[in-house]
Subunit: 141 residues, 2 copies
DNA sequence: AACAAATTATTTGTATACAAAATTTTTGTT
DNA sequence: AACAAAAATTTTGTATACAAATAATTTGTT
């Protein structure tokens, strides 16, 4: 079987294309796609712990550490220790991080539409549904 | 918009799931998914240059260097200098690399089927087609 | 032939990403 | 209270990945 017909290859290629498109659109805000994911998580509910954020966006706990480091250095957020559980840290948005909600929200919405524009409404739904089914199914194995 | 409804997030999550499944299946052969991609490329045509391989599997040239290093250390392949163009290197399979063709081919074929098993034949074709359309379309922008 | 431009591969720097181990703290059991 | 087990985060080590810069070589132009 040709490697280029392998489902892992096809998914990886599609994901890379979409990721770089999103990266290019987010670039002017000095935010990466995964950093947008964390911001988005915090816009929804500020002050979550690192573990909560990691679970929400399906990342390993140890991956979060470095990403939060870089976001803290850029002044997007702050780590605060949780008085009730000193193991935990609470991740809190800065003004800068909060103010990005509207512009980044618009950029991501537009990018999303642009990517899905090549499909009809029905195809879009089927495609999104299929991606969810693949991810959910494998995580059960 | 919820980050979990973002097409970039959905694609990334599906890709991660499939990638880790493939990784787990390839693990007993001490080969990673991208290393399988390079092997597969060479089984098809041995002695390709790093650039040819990179283009074939859609990787940046500078990414190839490290992957070939690790594969060379594991004795899967060898770098040979091209007498006709001393800038180029020819990547040549070792016996070990060649002998993996059959067992890895089978593992990947089975993994592929297992991932796609959740779909009907029609859904499979539409899904694969959609992934290609997404990747091809964005690379034109 | 001389030299600019292009090509091939590598190096350097940065960002994800995960696994395994380590650290600190909390929870549960005896 | 003592201590084992679990939980939250970080650290360390390894593997992708890309961008920009570099080095060596080849190609194209004058």
């Amino acid at each position: 079987m040709e490697v280029t017909q392998c489902i892992n290859f096809l998914l990886t290629r599609a994901q890379h294309s979409v990721l770089s498109y999103f990266r290019s659109r987010l670039d002017e805000y000095d935010v990466t796609p995964v950093q947008y994911g964390i911001l988005s998580c915090l816009w929804c509910k500020d002050g979550q712990t690192a573990t909560e954020i990691a679970q929400r966006i399906c990342l390993d706990g140890s991956t979060i550490t470095g990403i939060l480091d870089r976001m803290e250095n850029k002044g997007l957020l702050e780590r605060q220790s949780d008085p009730n559980d000193r193991r935990a840290i609470r991740v809190v948005l800065s003004d800068k991080g909060r103010q990005l909600e509207k512009p980044l929200g618009e950029v991501v919405k537009a990018s999303n539409q642009r990517v899905l524009d090549i499909f009809t409404k029905e195809e879009q739904e089927l495609f999104v549904e299929s991606l969810k089914r693949v991810a959910d199914n494998i995580s059960k194995w």
